[in-house]
Symmetry: C2
Subunit: 168 residues, 2 copies
């Protein structure tokens, strides 16, 4: 997934007559559906993250898995799936792309004939470290406007959403 600066923002208001309703009201803005706000915030972060990682030839989901592998060492696809709250199929697909790029290597678990252990390659470690600096900077922007108490509130809410809504 390549990223470049948009030549012209597709989401800008049109130049001619404005067939567009007022942006401040309706389902958008602070008063809108909170699910809508959540989706927009995540989409914005995903976009910004992908843009920040573009010249590293990484996507945000790929960086996510590299991070987990960096922290927890070699893992099976299934473990990675549980850790990242994704399905094994999703993880497998992302892993395939990472393996194709040589950032990750998959070897059979010596103690279990079915498990494929995935580990960072040296190239993967380097790429992860470079990407981490970009994403850390991005995340600082995310909380820059928040006071300590507000950040606690936001973090607690985000965690509670995943905890309460996910099928247990």
């Amino acid at each position: 997934m390549k990223r470049k600066a948009k030549p012209r923002d597709v989401n800008a208001a049109p130049a001619g007559r404005a067939p567009n309703p007022a942006p401040g009201e309706g389902p958008r803005g602070v008063k809108g559906h909170i699910g809508y706000l959540l989706r927009q915030a995540q989409a914005a972060f995903r976009l910004a993250g992908d843009a920040a990682l573009a010249d590293l030839e990484l996507t945000l989901p790929q960086f996510g898995l590299l991070t987990l592998l960096g922290v927890y060492g070699p893992l099976s696809g299934a473990s990675l799936a549980r850790l990242s709250l994704q399905t094994p199929q999703t993880v497998d697909a992302v892993l395939k792309n990472l393996a194709r790029a040589g950032l990750v290597a998959r070897t059979p678990d010596p103690r279990h004939g079915r498990i494929l252990l995935t580990a960072l390659t040296p190239a993967g470690m380097a790429r992860r470290a470079a990407a981490k600096r970009r994403i850390d900077a991005l995340e600082r922007r995310l909380t820059a406007g928040l006071g300590a108490e507000e950040e606690r509130t936001v973090r607690a809410w985000l965690a509670s959403v995943a905890r309460d809504l996910l099928p247990r």
Copy 2:
């Protein structure tokens, strides 16, 4: 996109020896990367929303467009894209599925030979109303644990993320 109750949660801990690191620490949980928390919260909402709409044969993105069309009336794909902060291509893809299901109808704008105006069909209006009840209930769960001040904080933060990070 069909949804059903999972026969067995793929993300549950394995029965045998636990090759899984402790879930409370690392990049997850309240202390983790806020981008990660954001992604998980949005994924959980997406999952729960899709599950809530499954028997209506709707996805959350489809419901989003139905809502916009319900509020703002017939719109071009480009307007819908600006309104929902998505690309015209994305909107077009979702609209195609909605049109195939007979929930929206696309007719050429009489005043502009290029524009296709998309409007809800009667079936689309009914489906949207039914879906709205489910999603409203889901969103109430999202804010159930928040005080008024906390909810303001969360909403303001979500809106600010989209506002600050999106390419302007």
